[in-house]
């Protein structure tokens, strides 16, 4: 992993068109700004992981759907 040290107000660039800026640091928190092209989705990692886990759980359970369960929603 690449490790960079940055101060508030400084930034770094990923590729040619993604810029991450450190806006503010205070009491163990870092406020970051992201400038990225529209087609690049930016998510907090834990949200992405939650969606991944939900998808995997949905897939694993898809064999258990029964007509009884679905019938309730007819």
């Amino acid at each position: 992993m690449l490790v960079l040290t940055r101060k508030a107000g400084e930034s770094f660039r990923i590729g040619t068109n993604v810029i991450i800026s450190v806006i503010k640091t205070s009491s163990g928190q870092v406020k970051l700004g992201v400038v990225a092209p529209e087609n690049i989705a930016v998510h907090r990692e834990e949200i992405y992981q939650k969606i991944r886990e939900e998808n995997q759980a949905a897939t694993a359970a898809s064999g258990s759907f029964s007509t009884e369960i679905l019938g309730q929603f007819l």
């Binding site: 998510h43 998808n55 064999g63 759907f65 007509t67």
Partner: protein, 188 residues
């Protein structure tokens, strides 16, 4: 194995014994629509080709199966049928994010999960599946609205038991996508 039970013969009579494992509903294996997911789906980033099937007896549901991994299969819900209870809109900037124009005709689905601990069917409202009906491409967008639950418990609407939310022949998202297929084929 799992796949075989899923791909039950569409014309099998109701008396056909149900498989012990695998979804206990019928799909028309011939009528699947090929959908490409250019970016994959979180958790299955490497899978890009799927088929979308309509459930023959349950017009509000669809079944999404990965072409190269039949165990990657998800039950989807057409949100139109529960829209009176759930309002989820995909903001235009999300469409731009997945390279779809705002004029694009899209269909939205929720991924369903059978939650054993809750004993209930839950829908992921935070990250709907969006299908471009023209391009036949699919995306799972993660909405920014943190109030949208990932596990929204679905409750059967008993009050409308005598007045079904959809009437036979009514358009669902699947038929919309299917019709778009016909139109684009006809134009060529």
């Amino acid at each position: 194995m799992e796949n075989e039970s899923m791909m039950q013969q569409p014309n099998s009579s109701p008396q056909t014994p149900k498989p012990e494992k695998g979804p206990q509903f019928r799909i028309d294996a011939e009528q699947g629509i090929a959908i490409e997911f250019p970016g994959g789906i979180p958790g299955f980033e490497e899978l890009h080709h799927y088929h979308l099937f309509e459930l023959l007896d349950y017009p509000h549901f669809a079944f999404l199966v990965a072409d190269d991994a039949s165990h990657v299969a998800m039950l989807l819900l057409d949100p139109k049928v529960i829209s009176q209870k759930i309002e989820v809109t995909v903001p235009p900037e999300k469409l731009t994010q997945i390279s779809l124009s705002q004029e694009e005709k899209i269909c939205t689905f929720f991924i369903l999960r059978l939650n054993h601990s809750l004993g209930k069917l839950t829908a992921n409202l935070r990250a709907p599946i969006i299908v471009s009906t023209e391009q036949k491409t699919g995306y799972q967008v993660i909405l920014d609205d943190e109030s949208l639950p990932i596990s929204y418990p679905l409750v059967p609407d008993t009050s409308s038991a005598s007045a079904p939310t959809s009437t036979p022949g009514q358009e669902n998202s699947f038929t919309t996508i299917k019709q778009a297929t016909r139109t684009s084929n006809g134009e060529r």
